[in-house]
Amino acid sequence: MLDGREYRITVIGAGPAGAAAAISAAAMSMEVDWYDKENRPGGKLNDYHQLFPDRATADQILADFDGRTDAIEIKKHFGTAVNRIETDNRQLILLSDNKIVGSADAVIVATGFDFFDARLKEEFGYGIYDHVITSPDLEKILKTNPEDLRKEGADPVSIAFVHCVGSRDQQAGINYCSRLCCITGIRQAIGIKELFPSCKVVNFYIDIRAFGSGYEELYREAQEKYKIQFIRGRVSEASENQQHRILLKAEDTLMARPLKLTVDWLVLLVGMVPSCTQVQIDNHQCTDQETGFYQPVNVFTGSRIAGLPGIFMAGACGGPMSIPEAIASGRSAAMEAWQYLKDR
């Protein structure tokens, strides 16, 4: 309750953006209904081993969220996937598999992202060769069982990372840059070297996009302290030999020479794509025709989805973004929602 009126707001998604939005909305005395398709909050944070640039563990952030949400009143509806919003006058009706589950005066959509399905880039053999994995696969391994990287008890001799898998790639149908994969590759490469110091680690990149705070410094540290090799050239093709090692073909574009390399593991740095559990809103086309991400009414001035009244977006459902960016975006969406409800 605020000013004697009820402000009912629903937040769809309990990842970093949704958590920040729900916490901020509750702090502004709005009545918050918080949904997530999973039975627990945190979204992809639950699978992350370490974050960048300071190598904090994801658990620390999750604990922070837990602390805050316990302290304020938020109605949690975890295990319910809201996949449709219908507008009825000024009410927003929320449906899950065609069943009405609730209503609200304002909604913040924070449905997040999925990782690009690397099986679509068949030339890398993901899903076919056991030793070709993606960055989220590696993250899970680093978090829960790094022993899995050993082969028959022996440390891996060499591991290669491929940047830009399913990003900036017309063949994959995705022309945008996913922004965070470069720093992920750098951080994971360092993680490998910390586990297996004598393992040769090579990152195959096109451009190193290290835009964030501490990112460029981490890139330099990867080269100088950890002796990770960066070769400028995207891997063109991977295949498997009889020893189940992976053969790569790439060009060292700075040397203008083609090269082949045999490694124990190939890690595909996959980009972010819109979540498959996006929310439909009436019959509106709310997502960008090219990328599939939600579109704000105006990238500079407002985060209402496609100009629809009362419906806001936060986090990676609007495009690839980092966790701090998602958190900031969640808080900002809550503020916009409050402003909207106050004014109507």
Binding site: E123, I128, S239, N241, Q242
Partner: protein, 350 residues
């Protein structure tokens, strides 16, 4: 709804085929095309028409840059015109370079209709003919793929070692111009094409994935046709042969006639020049075309279908499957008389 290329199936016409022959296949595998026609007509009951007035598509000339784009397009338009004149809509192409060329031309015309109009004008001016684009355009191996189960149902042999019951280990080689240029024109797309693995699996064999599976055989057009450049061509085949060697393949099957010819001949040349041999037990690996593979399982006589024209001997492979043949008739004509001096060949056969 994710779609993976390796699951991709394309539209292949069912019957009433207008068949255009391949320069390379006719020259180097003279039994293959009539075998293909016979299988379609007499084993599968299909209508196959061959127009005596069709010519080369000029693909080899196009890719060696002595036949310019508009000339090639007009010759291809002429092929389409013959097809229209005879009332056919379904084009079946024997050569993979041709198939790639038709695909490229149809795509260019789709994006640049004024170019198509220009070519139509040239064709009328030069020959008085008008053309329609084919309703369906596929490679000959696609037809066998479509009817692979029907062929399996009437097959006399399986691609299996008759002694051990083990499936033969078969390398499938797909011509570059089959699916690399337009993945949507190839069954299974460009990375894991299914057109030949489908045949192998349906007919009892097992497929071999080896690191250089997708590498070009090395024809390279000018890189073979000009004698001075042949090192390129042999080197690419060598890369493939070295890569497949540890997998000990019993057989190689290729849908492009050039690829089949090179993988066959270069094994001979590599043995002569370097002493290298890439098959199991120090033998060379026999190479067959898709229609020859079908012919073998259907029980055709190996010499009738032209396996004697291969440089790498096929007898051991035939023995393994249990296909019978008369060694005395290998280099004979239909009357059983030896042609020329085949003893010269036999001295070199390993």
């Amino acid at each position: 709804m994710k779609k993976y290329w390796k699951d991709y199936q394309k539209d292949i016409a069912e019957d009433n085929y207008f068949y255009v022959r391949s320069c390379i296949r006719q020259n180097f595998f003279p039994g293959a095309e009539n075998l293909f026609i016979d299988i379609l007509r007499n084993k599968l009951g299909k209508v196959v028409f061959e127009d005596a007035d069709h010519t080369t598509c000029t693909g080899i000339g196009y890719h060696t840059d002595i036949v310019p784009l508009e000339t090639t397009m007009t010759v291809v338009a002429r092929q389409f015109a013959l097809m229209k004149e005879k009332g056919f809509k379904n084009l079946v192409v024997s050569c993979v370079t041709s198939f790639g060329l038709y695909s490229e031309i149809l795509d260019l015309w789709k994006h640049q209709p004024e170019l198509k109009k220009k070519i139509a004008g040239y064709l009328v001016e030069a020959t008085g003919r008008i053309f329609d684009e084919p309703g369906n355009m596929v490679h000959a191996s696609d037809i066998l793929y479509k009817y692979r189960h029907e062929i399996a149902a009437i097959a006399k042999h399986k691609l299996v070692d008759k002694e051990t019951g083990e499936p033969l280990k078969i390398v499938d080689h797909i011509g570059c111009h089959y699916a690399k240029t337009f993945p949507e024109r190839g069954v299974g797309g460009s990375e894991f094409p299914q057109v030949l693995t489908g045949l192998i699996n349906a007919w009892g064999g097992s497929t071999v994935d080896y690191p250089e599976r997708r590498h070009c055989c090395g024809f390279g057009f000018r890189n073979y046709l000009v004698q001075a450049n042949r090192g390129y061509s042999i080197s690419q085949s060598k890369i493939k042969l070295e890569s497949m060697q540890p997998y000990e393949p019993d057989l190689i099957v290729a849908n492009c006639p050039g690829c089949a010819m090179f993988l066959d001949r270069w094994q001979y040349t590599l043995e002569e020049t370097e002493g290298s041999v890439y098959g199991p037990n120090d033998r060379k690996i026999p190479v067959v075309t898709h229609e020859e593979l079908a012919g073998l399982v259907l029980g055709y006589d190996p010499w009738e279908i032209g396996l004697q024209t291969h440089q790498v001997p096929v007898e051991e492979m035939l023995d393994k499957i249990g296909i019978e043949y008369d060694p005395d008739l290998k280099y004979a004509d239909r009357q059983g008389n030896l042609i020329g001096n085949p003893e010269m060949i036999n001295q070199q056969v390993c």
